[in-house]
Amino acid sequence: EPEVTQTPSHQVTQMGQEVILRCVPISNHLYFYWYRQILGQKVEFLVSFYNNEISEKSEIFDDQFSVERPDGSNFTLKIRSTKLEDSAMYFCASSDAARASYEQYFGPGTRLTVT
């Protein structure tokens, strides 16, 4: 069964450093998303991406964040200058929303620890 994959599973970085989190969405899906979950809190929407551009973003997704689909399979989230409060689990998801299918399929997540 196709699945969303994410790398790395765990990333430790120092405050102020740039990090890139990588995702490979399900191959025939057209919509891609990033969410984050701070330990013990809700899963929060960051951004959605369709047709090579951002379609929606939340207030959390400020200028420190960017997304890119550098090739036909990868979808990345970059945090330019990490802060302690960026420590969280980051989930990538994809959906075949073009078929009006709203189900989103999530990857296993990347645990980002900022020290």
Binding site: K42, E56, S58, F91, A97, Q104, F106
Partner: protein
């Protein structure tokens, strides 16, 4: 606005019993989805119910939606130890938006 506030926050039952989790939301939705998360792992999609549906079944799962009360429930019948996980509801507003708004979740423990 917040969507998807689940109750109870934690539920502990014996294997074989049924587990019911509830979710309330505040703004209008196009669809409501339930996800499971095993400790420290990713979210697994369980079931989606659209705003024009009242009930949906999938295996041992039964979901109801009451749009007049802005609430949904997830019933897991004949629970198993493997059902131990956190369960989240997530509302999708539709109308060109695909983002999901999650609640805090219910932590279900099924005791063998």
């Amino acid at each position: 606005s917040q969507q998807g506030e689940e109750d109870p926050q934690a539920l502990s039952i014996q294997e074989g019993e049924n587990a019911t989790m509830n979710c309330s939301y505040k703004t209008s939705i196009n669809n409501l989805q339930w996800y499971r998360q095993n400790s420290g792992r990713g979210l697994v999609h369980l079931i989606l119910i659209r705003s024009n549906e009242r009930e949906k079944h999938s295996g041992r799962l039964r979901v109801t939606l009451d749009t007049s009360k802005k609430s949904s429930s997830l019933l897991i019948t004949a629970s198993r130890a493997a059902d131990t996980a956190s369960y989240f509801c997530a509302g999708g507003s539709g109308a060109g938006s695909y983002q999901l708004t999650f609640g805090k979740g219910t932590k279900l423990s099924v005791i063998p």
